[in-house]
Symmetry: C2
């Protein structure tokens, strides 16, 4: 194993632990414990934590240590809001730049999602959905946009809201996807952009509403 790989691996490893939900939001990161888990000393580990903090996945409190970032409701809303703009912009660019092969791949994913919807397999549907949006983002052919998108997406994934969509909303999301694919095929950038934006805003509303109903009962 190369020498520098160590540091980057540590970043990637901890990031995975966070995004996979193994390290849930708010949990304290004990340096010593993580060192033993990852088999490295504190120096590279601390470097990794600083990096993850700049990525927004970790919060550092001076002299008190680091913890997995737990976003406030408003911050979650803000991330979704920005995501809506990035998705919309991705869609618009994708309409100009997508290749036939990429379009086919996206259509294939869409059909896969139709199947998963019919089969009522929500987790697989989510994974497929993520991949589809990723493909659109990649089709925009802008690596800076891509980086930004991926970074924000990780912050959201770290929160692990696998919302259990009710049937009506799921149906609607599927239908929206269908229309979005049509717009992409027609290379109608403006239309796709506005649909994607609306789609994400919708998602934001659903998840924020769910967060509120999930928190309130505990308080009462």
């Amino acid at each position: 194993m190369e020498r520098q790989a160590l540091h980057d691996n540590v970043v990637g490893h901890i990031r995975d632990l966070i995004v996979e939900g193994i390290l849930p939001p708010g949990i304290k990161l004990n340096e010593r414990a993580l060192c033993e888990t990852l088999g490295v000393s504190r120096t590279p580990l601390r470097e990794a934590i600083k990096v993850l903090a700049t990525e927004g996945l970790v919060d550092i409190t001076p002299n008190k240590g680091a913890s997995v970032s737990s976003m406030s409701e408003t911050e979650i809303g803000e991330v979704f809001e920005l995501m809506s703009a990035l998705e919309a912009f991705s869609g618009e660019l994708a309409c100009e730049r997508i290749s036939p092969e990429e379009l086919s791949a996206i259509k294939a994913l869409h059909y896969e999602m139709l199947a998963l919807h019919a089969r009522n397999d929500l987790p697989a549907y989510y994974r497929c959905n993520q991949r589809l949006h990723d493909r659109i983002n990649e089709a925009a052919r802008n690596s800076v946009l891509r980086q930004t998108y991926v970074g924000l997406n990780r912050r959201l994934n770290a929160l692990r809201f696998r919302s259990n969509l009710n049937a009506a909303k799921w149906d609607r999301a599927v239908q929206e996807h269908g229309e979005m694919i049509k717009a992409l095929e027609a290379r109608d950038g403006k239309l796709l952009a506005s649909m994607l934006r609306q789609h994400i805003v919708q998602k934001k509303e659903i998840i924020l509403a769910e967060l509120r109903t999930a928190d309130k009962p505990q308080a009462s």
Copy 2:
């Protein structure tokens, strides 16, 4: 001075050196030298470098050290492209959320810019311009958007293209600003967004063209 402040100060300090152009793109960051300049040991310095690398201001080559990031022409174009979307979105949100005071402040900046334009003071105009766009971005009231915007802006500022706009283009930019202010006053989000986007795309074209003419002569 607090204990943790040290690390963050190191990040801020080096970042300033880069954004101010004291450390120009491509230059190698000698750890030992920087340690002496900043009066810290290598540990916090290296942490800072890793952070700056995640911010995109520094490139790290394994076992070879760090250097101030020098973007390719395509990458610069990509950053501008994303900026155009962020500015547009900021404008749209600002139209919904801006306070009368914020609007007044922006109008004041605009008038200041008119004066500077008349006085032909380009550097001051640029600073004012930057502040105006910052204010719009802040008026969008989305801290995540703000963070992303600031980060990208720093990467561009590090490149230090203080382009010496010809009169016609400068006039045009000033006029566009006037129209943008009108749209903001009218709370016409869609209009402001499209204008801002066009404005930044314009800026991108100007700067990329200038980069090409600045590079080609050296090669020939």
